[in-house]
Amino acid sequence: MSAHAHGTQHFDETKRANIKFSAEALTTIENLMKRYPEGKSKSALLPVLHVAQAESEGWLSAEVMDYVAELMGIQSIEVFEVASFYSMYNLRPIGKCQLEVCRTSSCWARGAEDVVDYISKKLNIKEGETTTDGMFTLKTVECLGSCGSAPMLQCGAEYHENLTEAKIDALIDRYRSEGTRKNYTDLNYTNSK
């Protein structure tokens, strides 16, 4: 196995001085890459991109993708190919809390569109837009496997189910007062060889 594929030690820090992941994130990435057989560490790309996104204000710029490519010893284009295919990677900036409302059949049959309209009015943004304070983005997504608790939305790793207007109000108040970014992933990947 080449040291390049598995280590972060050969990474030239000066090249991308403007991008820096935390030491904890770099360790996480190293651990993730060890979960696959020798020479197959590219397999870790999807979870690594989740970490990268969490380290980069919720979205992947071309520079971040280059940085990930270098960390993993693969080409930038391989990273871009994957980043642009999957719906959970954002290639543009988003708000700290991205409210992803399920728009598929079971949720629709139980009022998902009213949820979208309600949030849209309340935050004064349309689907795909971000509030001017950078706090919230509203998005609609396909079935999240929560059809029995429809209507529902996801924000970061949290599921919010059986939504009512009161629940949405409370949720938005809480997020606003917390003021923190809601990521899909944390850095707690310890289980590896």
Binding site: L49, M88, G145
Partner: protein, 453 residues
Amino acid sequence: MSRKLLLTHDNVPNLHTIDVYRSKGGYASVEKALKKMTPEEIVEEVKKSGLRGRGGAGFPTGMKWSFLAKPEGVPRYLVCNADESEPGTFKDRYLMERNPHLLIEGMITSSFALGANTSYIYIRGEYFYVSRILETAIAEAYAKGWLGKNILGTGYNLDLYVQVGAGAYICGEETALLESLEGKRGNPRIKPPFPAIAGLYGCPTVVNNVETIAAVVPIVNDGGDEYAKIGIGRSTGTKLISASGNINKPGVYEIEMGVPVEEFIFSDQYCGGIANGKRMKACVPGGSSVPILPDYLVCKTATGEDRLMTYESLSDGGFATGSMLGSGGFIVYDEHQCVVRNTWNFSRFYHHESCGQCSPCREGTGWMERVLHRLEKGMGNMNDIDLLVELAKKIEGNTICPLGDAAAWPVAAAIKHFRHEFEYHVLYPEKVKDSKHGHKEPIMPVKPAPVMA
């Protein structure tokens, strides 16, 4: 009360911890398998059980396992499909959330049977919090010696990892899943070769659904014959059903195969009937990819038999008057729901999720979505309805993976059973203009007059 095999203890507090799980008899199948059985004997029990894949296609699991190639010196892999993205399906999530050790136990026993020393659980990225529950449970299992080197002193080694996806329905298709697990786009591969010959990293691989792998635990514990006693005919054992839509009690139910559909929908033990005192209009019994059934074909088949929750009974009548058990994503619609609008919703889903490799799927799904949108908005014409039927025919069977079929079937079935509703949208656009909250007046399916012999 019907017998449960997978959700037996799902109300026990802290079942997700290894100690509580052990106190309920957990990990017994690993002990039995590793110490008292050969891999071939386990495969034999799974064959005897009649277990069929719970991911949607219903392929016999024992047979799939026996196809696994075993070339010298080449690693073999077991990959668990926890991608669960079929609209209407949420049973795997429920199982992993409540009872993560059952899946881990099944993974160990199954990996041993297949001769795999590294196994993966590929879980959809949106279920990140579930992946955390699994990771914690896996760490517990390592700490107690159920995973890792020399398990139970038998010399068998197994490493088990969870990999999160990143949002793509197509990654549930097994070869797309393998591509994704290799860190690539989720583009399905052309088959053959099948994964049993060349799967993960080109090595022999078995891909099985979460529920399938969990079912291996009771099969090894009690024997395949015991499992096969539950159910009817070639539909053996229990099945997890995700029930959603306009019913009183949505949720995940473990049923014995063979429960009548009528009982499942209307009894208080299961769905508890239609919400708000309305009538049932239609049902999609197996996830968004299977044909929709009008009310009069849900509880009875076209020949007047009781429809049962089995692979065979749900598909009785073929695509003319039947549907499929599929993934067990059971969606019920009340009398006010608009079928045109719902069909558009599904089409939008498939268009969004097409990986784009084959033109009939990439272009066809988009075309269907646009035509359905036009019809739903009251801006279509009668030719559009036939155009949809034509489009569905052109996609079906002409693509690399079954997503194309999955996109075509629901459209064809909706038009077959609800053509009058599509026509109504063309003729009276004003009346259906805002069907967002369903039709103001219910539009029920029309049962065709019996054909005279």
